[in-house]
Symmetry: C2
Subunit: 277 residues, 2 copies
Amino acid sequence: MLYIVFCEQAIEAFGVGRVVASGHPDFEKDDLVAGLISWGEYSIVKGAIMLNKLDPMGFPLSYHVGILGFSGLTAFGGFFEICKPKKERKVFVSAASGSVGNLVGQYAKLFGCYVVGCAGTKQKVELLKEKLGFDDAFNYKEETDLNSALKRHFPDGIDIYFDNVGAEMLEAAVANMNTFGRVAVCGVISEYTDARKRAAPSMLDVVYKQINIRGFLAADLMSVYADFISTTVDHLRNGKIHVLEDISRGVDSIPNAFMGLFRGDNVGKKIVQIADE
Amino acid sequence: MLYIVFCEQAIEAFGVGRVVASGHPDFEKDDLVAGLISWGEYSIVKGAIMLNKLDPMGFPLSYHVGILGFSGLTAFGGFFEICKPKKERKVFVSAASGSVGNLVGQYAKLFGCYVVGCAGTKQKVELLKEKLGFDDAFNYKEETDLNSALKRHFPDGIDIYFDNVGAEMLEAAVANMNTFGRVAVCGVISEYTDARKRAAPSMLDVVYKQINIRGFLAADLMSVYADFISTTVDHLRNGKIHVLEDISRGVDSIPNAFMGLFRGDNVGKKIVQIADE
């Protein structure tokens, strides 16, 4: 079997697979591996620098490209290291049903924060509230004024904004932020699709409310990797965290899966299963 | 005598003066005091909560509303606490001949950084290079493309941007920033004068270069106050730091002094001397 997910801007792919033949002393036939591989049913990896043996720990292999992979690390490290939360803080997550957003919200709830998410369909909003335990959620496409929407959901202001989208949502979040608020900038869906759709948050707000806006990449969060794995495995074994996967099958599904990321088609981690076991 | 400076948005004034009469047990006639007072030759202060006795330490009184007052603390704390510099880092300062900017540049040079400043007249640029020891400086009004101007002055990228202006300069600085670059947002001259003139920096840059943008106020930097005073007094006594003051005299000069801040008239700290000793 081979599970592959889109990596950064899909230039390379992160996946898990099983070794069918190896000339490398560290890997043997039938070993499970995770790392950077190319798109396809079979992948020739030279040097193996970006490939590691994988211990599935009893979980489905797909978990290792999602909740136990980079998406999980990004959510866990981004929330705990970049947002530096305290219990009962008010947390807002955009693209909250996405691969990272849904986990940020769940980690934040398990940690004791008040969490509101936004998403782009009624079904996603229901999912956040009913299944993932968000305190509240709203469909941003139904709002004419994001500033008012956030004021309504955060009458006492936002302490932490986990930003996956940029643009107007970031502006509205900064406008509704409390003193010493923190913005973790994880993704910028708006700019991926249109470089002109930039956020222009009020820098007066940034100064007077002493706001911290910080971009980050999962690769810089390896210091929390061990903590991330042990915490997440515990949550999984205790049934406290919900795994949202959106799996399509076969090489043919790759283009649509990729484009769907920008249309907001996916719910949870978008994964392409290239081959069965 | 009475020296007064503009405080935040000039709603209140920060000044030094001499007590002419006191009914408060902590203050006696002829005591020097510093704190929030009203504009005028004489000021009645009730409660004295925002007023402290002042030890001039042998320095002119005007220093205590500038380099040894909030401007100095903002520059010192903003640079060392918010920018977290290391030696040889590349530092860019906007409004670099202003009350805070000129000190940031001087602290950064004394610390061992490479420093480039920008200002709005040829004279200011000369001053930065000739008198204050900046490695380089440029007149932003002579540049048609701020992005190219910064690329020219920072071929290896910017590590730290001390922002006093916002808008296009902040955008250009983010575009030229190195990985893990830090932006300390101290002031937003552009938005003071026109709320629509906002910065729209690329959030893709913020994510991929893991940039930290942080607003701050001097009031939150009191933890470094003792260090700020001892370091700055040392620099002053050793003649290593240059004091830039722009003093106008008399109550009549207040309106023009205030408006001049937004026109960029002042060089260094704008101070109004209300009364002679």
